[in-house]
C-alpha cells in the first residue's frame, strides 16, 4: 500500500511520481534524438524524399493537363461515345496554336506517343498546319488537316489527360493498357514484355540465391567449426572479393568466360570441347557472375548464426543415439535456419535490383527490371515508366520483407 500512496501523492516536494519520471525520460529521449538527428535528416533528404517523389511519378502525369488546358477541360463533359462536339475542336485548335508558339508541341507529342504510337507525329503535323484553320467548322477542318482527329482513341487519350493522375504507367508495367473506350485491356504482344521481365528478374534472383546457399552453407559450416587460426585465413579468402568492386569482378568474369577466354581455351586445350562453349552474354554468365558477387552476402549471416550454435547440441544428439547425419539434419540444421533465411533474403533482395552485371555479361534476354528502369530514365526519358517499374519492384521487396518478418522475425536478422 505504501508504494501506491507514493505514486499518487508524489514525493515530499508534492510533484507526482509519474511527472518526475516523464521529465527524466524526456531529457533522455531528447538526448537520443539529437544523436540520430543528422542521419535521420540525411535519410529523409537523400533517400525518402527522392524515392517518394520518383514513386509519385508512377501515377502522376500532368503533361496534357497543363499543356492542353482548354482541350482537356472541354472534354471533361464528353460522353466518350461519338466524336466530341465543335467546342472541343475549337479548344484543340487554340491549344495547338499555343503549343506551337510556345514550342511545347514535342512534349505533348511524346506523351501521346506513349499511348498511341505514331499519333504524336500526326499531332505535330496538325499543330504546324493549325494556323491555316480559321473560324467556322473546326471539326471538319481539323479532320481534313489530319484524319487522326476523326478517330475516337486520340480523344479518349486527351480526355484522360484531364486528370493529373493516371494508372497508365502501372498498367503498362504489368502488360495492360487503356483501350479506345477507356477500358483496361491487355497490351498488344509487341508491348507486353514486362511480365516476362519481372518473372525473369525473380527467376534469376531465385537461381542465384539457391546457388549461393548451396555453395555458401558448407563453407559457413567449415568456418564456424574450424579452429580460429585456420578459419580466419579462410574468412579472409571469403571476404577478399567483398572488398573489390562488383564492376571489376564482373569485368573479370568477362575475361574468363568469353569465347577465347581462359575457361574456353583450357577446355579446348584439353580436348574436352572442340568449339568454344557459350558462357557469356547469356543466362549462364549472368548467374555465375551474380553468384560470385552475392556469395558473401548469403554466407556471412549463416556463419554468424552458426557461430552461436554450441557444439554440445550435436554432441547431445550423438550421445542420445543419433548418427552424424541425423544429428546434423534434425538438431544442427534447424538452428541455422534464421541465418539461412537472413542470408537468402538479403541476396534475393539485392539480386532483384541487379543492373550492371546482367548488362555486362548477360544477353538481351537476360536483362532484369533495373535495366528497363535505367533505359526509361536515361534514354527514353520516360520517367513515368521508370517510376512504375521501380515502384512494383519496391512493393515486391517490401512484401518479401513482410513475409520474412512474419515467418522468422526481423530481430533474428544478423549480418556478418
Amino acid at each position: 500500500m505504501a508504494t501506491v500512496a507514493v505514486q499518487v501523492a508524489g514525493g515530499s516536494d508534492g510533484i507526482p511520481l509519474r511527472l518526475k519520471l516523464q521529465r527524466v525520460e524526456h531529457r533522455r529521449t531528447l538526448g537520443a534524438f539529437t544523436l540520430v538527428l543528422p542521419v535521420v535528416l540525411f535519410v529523409l533528404i537523400a533517400f525518402v524524399w527522392p524515392i517518394g517523389r520518383m514513386m509519385f511519378n508512377a501515377i502522376h502525369d500532368d503533361t496534357l493537363l497543363t499543356l492542353m488546358p482548354r482541350t482537356t477541360s472541354a472534354l471533361s463533359a464528353w460522353d466518350g461515345k461519338d466524336l466530341p462536339n465543335e467546342g472541343a475542336y475549337a479548344a484543340l485548335v487554340e491549344d495547338l496554336k499555343q503549343s506551337w508558339a510556345q514550342k511545347t508541341t514535342g512534349v505533348i507529342a511524346k506523351r501521346i506517343n506513349y499511348e498511341l504510337p505514331g499519333a504524336g507525329g500526326q499531332l505535330t503535323f496538325s499543330a504546324r498546319k493549325v494556323s491555316t484553320v480559321s473560324a467556322g467548322s473546326y471539326k471538319a477542318a481539323l479532320i481534313e488537316v489530319n484524319p487522326l482527329w476523326g478517330q475516337h482513341d486520340i480523344w479518349s487519350v486527351l480526355k484522360r489527360g484531364h486528370s493529373a493522375y493516371t494508372g497508365y504507367y502501372l498498367l503498362r508495367s504489368i502488360d495492360y493498357q487503356y483501350g479506345a473506350e477507356g477500358q483496361i485491356v491487355a497490351s498488344p504482344p509487341q508491348n507486353a514484355i514486362f511480365r516476362d521481365v519481372f518473372l525473369r528478374t525473380f527467376g534469376i534472383s531465385l537461381g542465384v540465391t539457391a546457388a549461393t546457399l548451396l555453395l555458401g552453407f558448407p563453407v559457413a559450416y567449415l568456418l564456424a567449426t574450424l579452429p580460429a587460426r585456420t578459419s580466419n585465413l579462410l574468412m579472409i579468402m571469403v571476404v577478399l572479393p567483398f572488398w573489390t568492386s562488383a564492376l571489376v569482378r564482373t569485368a573479370a568474369w568477362g575475361v574468363l568466360l568469353q569465347d577465347h577466354g581462359v575457361i574456353n581455351d583450357v577446355l579446348i586445350g584439353l580436348h574436352i570441347i572442340s568449339r568454344p562453349a557459350e558462357l557469356i552474354f547469356n543466362r549462364v554468365g549472368t548467374v555465375v557472375a551474380m553468384t560470385h558477387i552475392q556469395l558473401p552476402f548469403t554466407l556471412l549471416p549463416i556463419y554468424s548464426v552458426m557461430k552461436t550454435i554450441s557444439p554440445s547440441y550435436v554432441r547431445a544428439a550423438r550421445s542420445l543415439g543419433a548418427g552424424p547425419f541425423y544429428a546434423f539434419w534434425k538438431v544442427y540444421f534447424p538452428q541455422t535456419l534464421p541465418g539461412v533465411a537472413a542470408g537468402c533474403l538479403l541476396t534475393f533482395i539485392l539480386c532483384l535490383g541487379y543492373y550492371i552485371t546482367p548488362a555486362l555479361v548477360g544477353g538481351p534476354a537476360d536483362q532484369m527490371v533495373s535495366y528497363f528502369v535505367a533505359h526509361y530514365t536515361n534514354e527514353d526519358l520516360n520517367w513515368g515508366m521508370a517510376s512504375a517499374l521501380g515502384a512494383i519492384l519496391l512493393a515486391a521487396t517490401l512484401l518479401l520483407y513482410y513475409v520474412y518478418n512474419k515467418l522468422v522475425g526481423v530481430d533474428r536478422l544478423k549480418m556478418g
Binding site: 554450441s310 554440445s312 547440441y313 554432441r315 547431445a316 544428439a317 550423438r318 550421445s319 542420445l320 543415439g321 543419433a322 548418427g323 552424424p324 541425423y326 544429428a327 534434425k330 538438431v331 534447424p334 538452428q335
Partner: protein
C-alpha cells in the same frame, strides 16, 4: 558402497577402485578386477602432441556406482569424461564398457546418456520432443514413447511442462529436462559434465539431492564431473580427485576428507593448515616432526618414508582445540589471535603459531559466543591422529 574401501594408492586391490600414478609400474593386479563395469586402461590423451592432458589413467567403475571426478579446471577430468562418451579419442590405451572395448564404437552406439554443462536442450523442440528424440532414433512404438516420456517427466517432477520450449523454462527446470532426457532411453551409463554449474547456490543444493535420489531410485551408474568439492562430497559413492592429468586419490567422501593421501588432496578437499617440517623420529603409526623455530609435533604417518625427509603436516581447522587441559593433548602450542571473523554457525580465527601467521582455526558457535579478540594470547592443541604427515607435493 561399503565394500569400496579406499586402498593405499600404491597397493591396488582387486574388486574395488584403483588409481595409480603414472610413475608406478606394474598392472598385474588389474586383471583381478575383471567384473568392472567401466574400465579405463592405461589411458593417455594429448591434444597438441606435446603435453599430456591425461597421464596413464587406470580407473574401474562398478555397476550402479555414483563416481565423481573432482578437480580444478585443466586437470583432465572433462577430457576423461569426453573419452568415455566417445567425443575424444584416447591417444593411448583402451576403455572397456561391460568388458568390451569401446574404442571403435561411435558415440551414438555407446548407449551412454549425457547431461551437459549448458544443458544442450534442443531449442527448436518442445520438452516432449526433446525427450522423444532418443526414443525416435531407436524407432520405438509411439505408445511406448509416450509412456516413457511421461515416466521421465514425472521422475524429475515436470509433468505439466511437456509442451513448453526450453527457452520458456527456468534454469533449474531446464536442468531437470536435460536429466530426464539423459535417462529416458534407459542408458547403461549416465555422464554428467558439471551439470549444476549454471545454477544458483540454493537450487544447486536442491538439485544435488534430486540427482542423488534419482540415482538411488534407478540404480543407474553415474559418472559425474565437477570442480565443486561440496557437490562431490554430497552426492558421490566415490570421488576421484584429479590434478595435472593424474588421479591423486580415489575414495569415499568421508575417507577422502578424513584421510587425504597427499598434500594436494588435503588442500583441495576442505580447508587445511599446512606446517612444513622434517621427520626426526618414526614410531610405528606416528612420527615426530620438527617444525623449524617452533618445536616438535606428534603426527600420524601417512606417506613419509624415513627419518630426515621433509614433510608437510596437514591439519583441519575444526580439529584444533582452544585452551586444552594441560597434558590432554600431545601437541600444545601458544599462539596469538591475528583476526576473528564471525560466520554465524562458527567463528573463524586467523592466528600466529609455529612461525606461521596464516594458521586458521574454526570454533563452533554452539555454547554462546566464543570469546576471542584480535591480539589475545591463547593456547591451542591437537591430537597426533588429526595431524597427518604427508609427502610434500
Amino acid at each position: 558402497m561399503q565394500s569400496l574401501k579406499m586402498q593405499h594408492h600404491a597397493l591396488p586391490v582387486g574388486g574395488g577402485a584403483l588409481a595409480r600414478q603414472a610413475s608406478e609400474p606394474g598392472r598385474a593386479s588389474l586383471s583381478d578386477s575383471g567384473d568392472a563395469f567401466v574400465r579405463f586402461s592405461d589411458i593417455q590423451k594429448t591434444y597438441d602432441g606435446e603435453a599430456l592432458v591425461v597421464k596413464n589413467l587406470n580407473l574401474d567403475i562398478a555397476r550402479g556406482e555414483f563416481l565423481t571426478m573432482l578437480g580444478p579446471s585443466g586437470s583432465g577430468k572433462t577430457t576423461t569424461l569426453m573419452m568415455l562418451a566417445g567425443f575424444e579419442v584416447p591417444t593411448q590405451g583402451n576403455i572397456f564398457l561391460e568388458g568390451r572395448s569401446i574404442q571403435n564404437v561411435p558415440p551414438h552406439k555407446r548407449d551412454i546418456g549425457m547431461v551437459f554443462q549448458n544443458y544442450a536442450l534442443f531449442p527448436h523442440m518442445t520438452v516432449e520432443e526433446n525427450l522423444a528424440f532418443p526414443l525416435k532414433v531407436r524407432k520405438l512404438a509411439k505408445a511406448e514413447i509416450e509412456t516413457k516420456i511421461k515416466c521421465a517427466l514425472d521422475l524429475v517432477r515436470l509433468g505439466a511442462h511437456g509442451k513448453r520450449r526450453p527457452g520458456q523454462l527456468s534454469g533449474g527446470q531446464q536442468q531437470r529436462v536435460a536429466l530426464a532426457r539423459a535417462l529416458v532411453f534407459d542408458p547403461k551409463l549416465v555422464l554428467m559434465d558439471e551439470p549444476l554449474g549454471a545454477l544458483d547456490k540454493q537450487l544447486r543444493e536442491q538439485m544435488q539431492l534430486e540427482i542423488r535420489r534419482i540415482h538411488e531410485d534407478l540404480g543407474v551408474t553415474v559418472v559425474y564431473v565437477t570442480h565443486d568439492q561440496g557437490e562431490a562430497l554430497t552426492m558421490s559413492d566415490r570421488i576421484a580427485v584429479f590434478s595435472d592429468g593424474v588421479i591423486q586419490q580415489i575414495a569415499a567422501p568421508a575417507e577422502l576428507y578424513e584421510r587425504p593421501q597427499n598434500a594436494f588432496v588435503a588442500q583441495f578437499i576442505g580447508e587445511n593448515n599446512r606446517l612444513h617440517g622434517k621427520v626426526v623420529a618414526m614410531n610405528g603409526a606416528t612420527c615426530k616432526v620438527e617444525i623449524p623455530g617452533a618445536g616438535n609435533v606428534q603426527a600420524l604417518v601417512v606417506n613419509v618414508e624415513a627419518v630426515g625427509l621433509p614433510t608437510v603436516l596437514s591439519l583441519r581447522p575444526e580439529r584444533v582445540r582452544l585452551n586444552p587441559a594441560p597434558g590432554s593433548l600431545p601437541n600444545v602450542f601458544s599462539a596469538q589471535v591475528a583476526e576473528v571473523i564471525y560466520l554465524g554457525d562458527h567463528v573463524r580465527a586467523r592466528i600466529s603459531v609455529c612461525g606461521q601467521d596464516d594458521f586458521v582455526i574454526k570454533l563452533p558457535n554452539s555454547e554462546g559466543l566464543v570469546q576471542l579478540e584480535a591480539g589475545a594470547a591463547i593456547t591451542i592443541g591437537w591430537t597426533a591422529e588429526d595431524c597427518r604427515a604427508l609427502e610434500p607435493s
